[in-house]
């Protein structure tokens, strides 16, 4: 009898301690969203609304939490969605000045809550990629881009043979998710991080045969 009471008491205590079991996945998603809403606030140039994920980010985040990649059909759909956003250079010029491109690749500034609206955004490229060999401070999150144009046989970026590589590279920088649904790489053009002229300069860094990248 006494023993039985103890068991009931214990069960009650567990119940009182907070519903005993962890909520299901959908409730956790909802709870997380509520916590995000309550935890983050506007600061400087960054509005809390930048946390409202688009479909690409929502699907990729969910896949990351689940620990398995998007299924092929969804990945293809996401890539198609992103490919549609790619805008060709307004003046038709895919390549700018590689020297300017190097500066953009080095620059990791812009769009944080401590930056001003006037801050010129950088490309953050060296954070993740090896590019010009001379820069020893490079990241390894992305693949090496050293000899990018040379390895792809680009002798003349304006030639017909080079066109597919040039257009792919433009598209990859403009919206990386057009080619890899859940790529770690930002969508520089699509999200307005870099403008078309800046992207053309980065293109030149990668593809201009005179760029140190292709030496």
């Amino acid at each position: 009898m006494i023993h039985h009471q103890k068991v009931i008491f214990l069960a009650l205590a567990v119940g009182l301690a907070g519903c005993a079991s962890v909520p299901d996945s959908a409730s956790l998603d909802k709870f997380t969203a509520d916590i995000v809403k309550a935890s983050f606030r506007d600061e400087g140039i960054v509005k809390a609304s930048v946390l409202d994920a688009d479909e690409t980010n929502r699907l990729c985040s969910e896949a990351d939490v689940a620990g398995k990649p998007l299924d092929d059909a969804t990945a293809k759909r996401v890539e198609a969605l992103n490919l549609k956003t790619v805008k060709a250079p307004p003046n038709g010029k895919y390549l700018g000045d590689w020297k300017e491109g190097e500066k953009i690749a080095q620059n990791g500034r812009g769009l944080t809550y401590t930056d001003s609206a006037k801050t010129v955004n950088g490309g953050n490229c060296y954070n993740c990629h090896k590019i010009d060999q001379k820069e020893i401070s490079f990241g390894t999150i992305g693949p090496s881009l050293h000899n990018y144009g040379k390895l792809r046989g680009v002798a003349d970026p304006s030639s017909a043979e080079a066109k597919p590589v040039v257009e792919y590279t433009w598209g990859k920088i403009w919206n990386s998710k057009a080619y890899n649904a859940c790529s770690n790489m930002p969508r520089a053009g699509h999200m307005g991080i870099l403008n078309a002229a800046q992207i053309a300069d980065v293109m030149a860094l990668l593809l201009d045969p005179k760029s140190p990248v292709n030496q």
């Binding site: 080095q106 620059n107 990791g108 953050n124 020893i136 401070s137």
Partner: protein, 152 residues
């Protein structure tokens, strides 16, 4: 433009002021502003009144990393195995002001000091020993300063 004579006069005044405060009379010594404002190794030595020819010596050593991950904190050690050293200096050639630290050596301490300095860019770092006999000996080492982190 400050002449050397003015600098000396200035130094004497400061020393007098310090001594007169009586707070740490035994420590009273003058901060040599003109030496710390100098823009080159030669000018800094001149301001310190070290007139001997600057000579490289294997008996003087400078320890510093080959690459500093951050220029804000670069560990530098200066030392000499020679007796009769009056002053040990740390200089960073390409800093806005070259002379960074000066240690007056006494009989009671070893002529070996470690400190940390700021470097605006890659540069030679000098350890310089001013000897009691007026000789000026040095060792130098190039330290590369890299850009770390994601700040750009």
């Amino acid at each position: 433009m400050q002449t050397r004579r003015n600098a000396l006069k200035h130094t004497a005044v400061v020393a007098g002021l310090l001594a007169s405060t009586g707070l740490f009379p035994q420590f009273a010594f003058a901060f040599n502003k003109s030496a710390f404002d100098a823009k080159s190794v030669a000018d800094a030595l001149k301001a310190l009144g070290a007139s001997g020819a600057l000579t490289e010596s294997k008996d003087v050593s400078v320890t510093a990393p080959d690459i500093a991950e951050n220029g804000s904190v670069v560990p530098v050690g200066v030392a000499t195995t020679l007796a009769g050293v009056k002053t040990l200096l740390i200089m960073v050639e390409k800093n806005p002001a070259t002379l960074t630290a000066l240690f007056n050596v006494t009989e009671s301490v070893e002529p070996a000091f470690q400190a940390r300095v700021k470097m605006g860019q890659s540069s030679d770092v000098y350890a310089i020993a001013i000897m009691n006999d007026g000789k000026v000996l040095f060792a130098k080492k190039e330290v590369k300063v890299t850009l770390g982190g994601c700040g750009g």
